[in-house]
Chain length 293, copies 2
């Protein structure tokens, strides 16, 4: 099985299925969580966790719970981000967003439950028996720190505060580092912790993830201008519509393509310190920098 199939299959195991699910009065909550989780996406974050575990000497099996945990965090953030009181987006990955299908109340709670379930997954008895309590707790701590108030959620707040204003490039950079890079960095770092728990490996994972995240987010801003709704699976031009300052509005497209290449090269270069086969991680960074959606 390839990484993607492994992730898809493992994700399903963390939710009540069949009779167990049907017997729950709150069944609709599980349906709502699965709806967004199964809406696909590129599964970049969990793939990074698996790849980093392998290049650092661990196995894919050991890294899978952490890969699933980070995808749950990413998915919850999308559900909450789409809510009317946030970006108010009706479409996500070409499908109606969670609250358009299940209502705002269930969507809010599905996000809360996915966020919570990420930690149940990373700290489960199965996970602890695979990697030990120390690594499990360490990954959980990094996941909470990088996705919380001074990480991803903090980045969301900077994003909200920047709407309709002309903000300096440093603020945009802070926002990207927190809103996007933090979680991508976390995915890489958890893989390194599972694989070797070697401080040098963790540091490399951090540098790779941070730069990949910056390249990824600037590409997102570029695609919001140059792509079309069908390729992107969501409305384009939403940044302009929301009067958002982005790297593109502040620096122009040419400079942004340059920056994407620069950050991608930095990410790739950082892998030199790892003694394993890092070709897949390099290829992934390149692929991300050339994506069309």
């Amino acid at each position: 099985m390839n990484y993607l199939e492994l992730i898809e299959n493992k994700l399903k195991t963390y939710f009540p299925q069949g009779k167990e699910k049907d017997s729950l009065i709150e069944k609709v909550l599980i349906d709502s969580m699965e709806y967004s989780l199964e809406a696909g996406g590129k599964r970049i974050r969990p793939t990074l966790t698996l790849m980093f575990s392998e290049v650092c000497g661990g196995t894919v099996e050991q890294a899978l719970p952490f890969a699933c945990g980070i995808e749950m965090i990413h998915t919850y953030s999308l559900i909450h981000d789409d809510l009317p009181c946030m970006d108010d987006d009706d479409l996500r990955r070409g499908k109606p967003s969670n609250h358009k299908v299940y209502g705002e109340d269930i969507a809010l709670l599905a996000g809360d439950a996915l966020l919570t379930n990420a930690f149940a997954t990373v700290l489960s008895e199965e996970t602890v028996s695979l990697v030990g309590g120390e690594k499990s707790a360490k990954c959980g701590r990094i996941l909470a720190t990088l996705s919380g108030m001074t990480g991803m959620v903090g980045g969301q707040v900077i994003d909200l505060q920047s709407e309709g204003k002309k903000v300096p490039i440093d603020t945009i950079r802070q926002m990207h580092l927190k809103k996007t890079s933090a979680l991508i960095k976390c995915a890489c770092m958890m893989g390194a912790i599972v694989g070797s728990n070697n401080e040098e490996h963790i540091k490399i994972a951090e540098t790779y993830g941070e730069n990949l995240g910056l390249a990824f987010q600037i590409m997102d801003d570029i695609l919001d201008v140059v792509s079309d709704e069908k390729s992107l699976g969501k409305p384009i031009g939403s940044d302009a519509e929301n009067e958002k300052s982005t790297f593109v509005t502040l620096l122009g497209l040419d400079k942004c393509y340059e920056l994407v290449n620069e950050y991608t090269e930095k990410a790739i270069k950082s892998l030199d310190g790892i003694n394993g086969d890092t070709s897949q991680l390099k290829a992934l960074a390149v692929k991300m920098s050339e994506r069309k959606n």
Copy 2:
């Protein structure tokens, strides 16, 4: 210092303060989290964690991070519960609810960040050095399981689905067990894990917490009918207004007072299996059953 002071003081340490806070672009997020966390309340859950740690042979110091973690979870659930797409409550503990002060977007994110920060707290390096990685991960797992999709959040969904309908008493009981008892039970169980990690103690903590939680929630339903807005710090009669079936609407006040006593006695009786001084836990159960707000 008494339990309450210890909890209040420790809670503050988990948030950026002074210059560190002021330098954050997302400072308003921290303000919003602290606004709801400092709004007080009775701190019943964290107090239970401290008490159970002590009666099981642990210290208050070891239990404090877990006490703070559970209060963060409780507080996030109140912020999200008050949002317009949920209960749409303007008042909480006699003060404007979070979204009335900070707006819906920041309130949503403050809830997300408090939920996330609970796990950063329970899994922090300081916590692990106090109790070890195994207990830290085990508490985190129980916290995630009991507050998530088949625990507290599941209970919220049952609550939503029950609005404006006549629902059977069994559904209401399921709702209370998940929405209220699960987190109170969790507070007790984490204390027992920190104190001794003895399976019998954990089982007792579970039974005590579950019954205390049921008594607590039925008392809440009673107070919604018999109290006044000033004592309660929130609008009364909201259950009737929302056409909610409650223990009171289904069984009447007299039967409900009986049930509160019954569950309180069960909680107290369960403590017989612990060889320490359980007088404070017994007094707390009695006090809860006699509360006026």
